[in-house]
Amino acid sequence: MKKRFLGCGIAGVLFLLAAVAAPAQDFPKGAITYLNPFNPGGEVDIAARAMQPHLEKNLGVPFVINYVPGAGGGLCWSKLAAVKPDGYTIGGFSIPHIILQPVFMKDVTFKTDDFVIFSIVEYTPIGLGVKKDFQASTFKEFVDYCKANPGKVSFGTSGVGSTGHLAMASLAQEAGDLQLTHIPYKGGGESLPALLGGHVDVLSDASSWASLVDAGKFRILAIYSPERSAMYPSAPTVKELGYPVVYTNPLELFGPKGLPAPVVSKLHDAFCKGMDDPGFEAVLKKLGMPRLYLAGEELLRSNRENYDRMRKVVEKLGLLKK
C-alpha cells in the first residue's frame, strides 16, 4: 500500500513533462469521455466498466465510455492523438499494440510519443505451452527438441505482431537461433483449437489457455511475465530459466500529449483510488488479471525499454513499415 502511494508521488515527475496549458485547477467540470479501443464485452472493456463507478465517485463527474474499435485499436489511438489535450477525452490501451502499430502499420497516424500515460492497471500473462502428450515436457527439453528438429516445430499465436509472436521470436533468437515455423491465427479463439487439434506444436499466446491447464490438457512450459503467476505458481518464467525475454500484455490509461499537469495528477489519483477499491480488485481477480501498478518515471522507463526492444524484434522479423 505504502509503495503505491510512493508511486503516486513519483508519478508527479512525469507530469512535469506535460506541457503547461491553461490553468486546470478546477478540472473536471464536465463529463469525461473514455475511448475504448476494442469492442464491448472484451477483457479491456470489462476492466474499464468495473473502474467506471469508482472514477465517477472519485472525480464527481460522469465517466462516459465510448467504443472506437477497429484496426486492432489503431483507429482509436489515431483519434485520441488528435483530440484537444484538456483531460476530457482519455483512453485505454494495451502494450504492445501502441508500440508496434506506429512501427509497422502503414495507415496509423499516431506515434508512441504522442501520449501521456498515467498508470498501468493490470496485465494478462503470456505463456508458452504444449499439449499434454507433446514430446517435450519441460522448457529445456523443448529447446533441445527444437534444436534437434530445425524447421519442424510450428508455433501458433493470435496474430502477426501479437505479444506471443514477438515473445517467441525473441526467445528463439536468445536460445540459439531456433528454426521455428510461425502460424498466425486470428485471436485465441482460433489458436487454441489449433493446438488441441494438433495443427501446431506449441502455443505462444495470452492466457486463453488458462482453462485447459486445470483440465490437464495443456502444459505450460514457461511464462513470459516478470514474476511467476499467482494462478500457476509451478510454471517457471522464461527469465528465471536464463533467457532475458520478458513480455506482458498490460492495460494502460493515457491521454494525448500536452495534458496540463494538474489534470494528469487528478486523473491519476482517481485511478489510484479506484484500483484500491475491493470491488475493482475482485473483478480483476475473476478475470485472472494480476494487478500491476506502475507510474511516473518507472513507467516511462519501462515503456521506453519496451519500445526499443520490440522495435528491434520487429525489424529482425522484417515487419518494419517502409
Binding site: Y67, A71, G72, P193
Partner: protein, 505 residues
C-alpha cells in the same frame, strides 16, 4: 438414467421465477434485435453483459443465450417482408421468402421460418445434450487444410445460388473475393487496398455490405418503381403453412437442422455459411430446381432451420473446450469469466447446474419463441400495408442506425450507402446478390487458410489431399462442379445420336 437426473437438475434450476423471467427477456430481446436490420445479437449481448454482474451466472447465461438464438427467429422476418435481411444469416431467405410475400404468401413463409427454427432449435439442443463431447473432437480435427477445402466447397455451391445467369453469378462471386482481399493481410501484417483509410484495415464489414446491397438498394429500387402494392396486400390470406407446405418443408427442415448443427460446431460465421449450404443442397436434390428463387417454401424452410441449429452447434466448443466459435460466443465466454466460472473441458462436470440449466432453458426458450412468433405473424404481415412513403424512410433509418451501432464508424455508414448504390445498379442488370455475399464471407477465410496450410506443409500442396477430411471436401467440390455438366453431356450425346440418325435417314 443419468441423462434423466441431469434433465431434472436443469429443470429444477430453470423453473424459478427469476430464471424463467430472464429466459423470456432474453428471447424477447433476441427477437427484437433479430427483426431490426443491422442490430445484431453481438452488439446486444455485449452491451447487456455488464448489467448481468448482479445476477447469478446461470441466470445471466440463460438470458444472453436467449438473445443469441432468439435473434435467428427474428432475422427472417424482414427478409421475407421487405427483402432486407435482419441478420447476415437470413440473406438467403430473401431469395424465396420475399418472392412468397410478393405472391401473398408472407404468412406461410413467416410461419415455416418460425416452425423450422423451432424444430431446428430443438434438434440442436438435443444434439448439444447427447453428443457434445465426441463432436468437440470433430471440430478440433479441422485445421487450415480442412478449412480451406471446406471453403472451396462453399465456392463450388455458389453456382446453385444463382437463379439467373451463371456467368453473372460467377462475376459477382469474383468481385466478392476481390473485396475480401481488402484489409490487413493476416500472415504478413501488410495493409492491402486500404488507401490510407484506417477503418478498412479490418476488411469490408459483412453487415454494411448486406445492409447496403439489400436494404438501401431495395429502398432505391422501390422509389423508382411504383409497385402495385394493393395486389400484394389484398392477397394475404392464410397465415400459417398448409398441409402441402408442410409436406414440402419437412425434410428440408430436418436436413437443414443437421447441416446447421455440424457446421455450427466449426469456428467462423457458421449461421451464414450453413444457411447458404442448406439452400444449395435443397436446390441440388430438388426435383424442381427451377422453382428456387420464385417463391418456393423449401427455399425458406431449409436455410432458416440451418441458421438456427448452427447457433446450438456453436455452444459445443464453448461448453466442452472453452473455445469461442464466433464473436457472440466469445462474449458469452467473457460472461463466464466475469462470473468467476472457468470455461474449459471441466465445465460440464464442475458446473452441472450451469450446463443443464442452460440446456433446459434452450428447450423452453424455443417454445417461448414459437409462442411469441406465431401471433406476431399477423402483425408482421400488416407491415406490408404500411404505405411506402412511411415504410421506406423507416427502413433506411434502421439500416443507418443499425450499421452505425456496429462499430460507431461513419466510414461503415458510407460503405453501406456505396454498396446500396452498387446493389441498385447491379439489380438493374440482373446481377444477383447472394453469390457476392457468400464470396465476401468465404474469401478472406479461404485465402488465410490456404496460406496457413501451405506454411504448415512448407509449400507442399499435397497436404490438401493427404488429410482425409480435406480430401473428402475436395472430391465433393469437384463432383459439384462437374455434375451440372453431366445432363448436358447426356443431352449432347442424345442430340448427336439424333443428328446421326437424322443423317442416316
Amino acid at each position: 438414467m443419468d441423462i434423466l437426473s441431469h434433465v431434472l437438475l436443469g429443470a429444477q434450476i430453470l423453473f424459478t421465477p427469476t430464471n424463467l423471467f430472464f429466459c423470456f427477456l432474453g428471447v424477447l430481446m433476441g427477437t427484437l434485435v433479430g427483426v431490426l436490420p443491422g442490430l445484431g445479437p453481438t452488439a446486444a449481448i455485449a452491451l447487456l453483459l455488464p448489467n448481468t454482474f448482479h445476477v447469478p451466472p446461470v441466470t445471466a447465461i440463460i438470458m444472453l443465450a436467449g438473445i443469441y438464438y432468439g435473434a435467428m427467429y427474428g432475422g427472417s422476418t424482414t427478409s421475407i417482408l421487405v427483402n432486407i435481411p435482419g441478420e447476415a444469416a437470413s440473406v438467403i431467405t430473401c431469395l424465396d421468402g420475399y418472392q412468397m410475400a410478393q405472391k401473398g404468401r408472407a404468412g406461410p413463409a413467416l410461419g415455416i421460418a418460425a416452425f423450422g427454427s423451432f424444430i431446428a432449435g430443438t434438434i440442436s439442443v438435443l444434439g448439444l445434450m447427447l453428443v457434445a463431447p465426441p463432436l468437440a473432437k470433430f471440430a478440433l480435427a479441422f485445421g487450415p487444410p480442412e478449412y480451406f477445402s471446406l471453403m472451396l466447397m462453399g465456392i463450388a455451391i455458389l453456382i446453385y445460388l444463382a437463379s439467373g445467369s451463371i456467368l453473372k453469378a460467377l462475376m459477382m462471386a469474383v468481385f466478392g473475393l476481390l473485396l475480401g482481399t481488402i484489409g490487413m493481410d493476416a500472415i504478413s501484417g501488410t495493409q492491402r487496398l486500404t488507401f490510407g483509410v484506417l477503418e478498412l484495415a479490418d476488411g469490408i464489414g459483412l453487415i454494411p455490405a448486406i445492409m447496403g446491397l439489400f436494404g438501401v438498394a431495395e429502398v432505391i429500387s422501390n422509389v423508382e418503381a411504383e409497385i402495385k402494392r394493393e395486389l400484394i396486400t389484398a392477397k394475404v390470406k392464410n397465415l400459417l403453412p398448409n398441409r402441402q407446405d408442410w409436406k414440402e418443408s419437412f425434410w428440408p427442415i430436418i436436413r437443414g437442422s443437421l447441416l446447421g448443427f455440424f457446421i455450427g460446431i466449426l469456428p467462423g460465421p457458421a449461421p451464414v455459411i450453413s444457411a447458404f449450404t442448406s439452400y444449395a443442397v435443397e436446390k441440388k436434390i430438388s426435383k424442381h430446381p427451377e422453382k428456387f428463387g420464385t417463391g418456393t417454401i423449401v427455399g425458406v424452410a431449409g436455410p432458416e432451420a440451418a441458421n438456427n441449429s448452427a447457433t446450438g452447434g456453436a455452444f459445443i466448443p464453448l461448453f466442452t473446450l472453452g473455445i469461442p466459435a464466433n464473436s457472440v460466443i466469445a462474449i458469452l465466454l467473457g460472461a463466464f469469466m466475469i462470473h468467476g466460472i472457468q470455461p474449459g473441458p471441466m465445465l460440464i462436470s464442475k458446473y452441472p447446474d450451469l450446463f443443464w440449466g442452460t440446456i433446459m432453458s434452450m428447450y423452453l426458450g424455443n417454445i417461448m419463441l414459437l409462442i411469441l412468433n406465431l401471433p406476431l405473424i399477423g402483425l408482421w404481415v400488416k407491415v406490408l400495408k404500411v404505405p411506402y412513403p412511411i415504410l421506406f424512410p423507416l427502413i433506411l433509418l434502421f439500416c443507418l442506425v443499425g450499421v452505425f451501432s456496429l462499430n460507431y464508424s461513419n466510414i461503415e455508414v458510407a460503405l453501406m450507402i456505396g454498396f446500396g448504390i452498387f446493389g441498385y445498379l447491379a439489380r438493374k442488370f440482373q446481377f444477383e446478390m447472394a453469390p457476392l455475399v457468400l464470396a465476401i464471407v468465404i474469401g478472406p477465410m479461404m485465402e488465410n487458410n490456404l496460406r496457413l496450410a501451405l506454411t504448415i506443409s512448407q509449400g507442399d500442396p499435397a497436404i490438401f489431399v493427404q488429410k482425409p477430411i480435406s480430401a473428402v471436401f475436395i472430391v465433393i467440390s469437384i463432383l459439384l462442379l462437374i455434375s451440372p455438366l453431366l445432363p448436358w453431356l447426356g443431352k449432347r450425346r442424345k442430340k448427336l445420336q439424333e443428328q446421326v440418325e437424322g443423317e442416316e435417314v
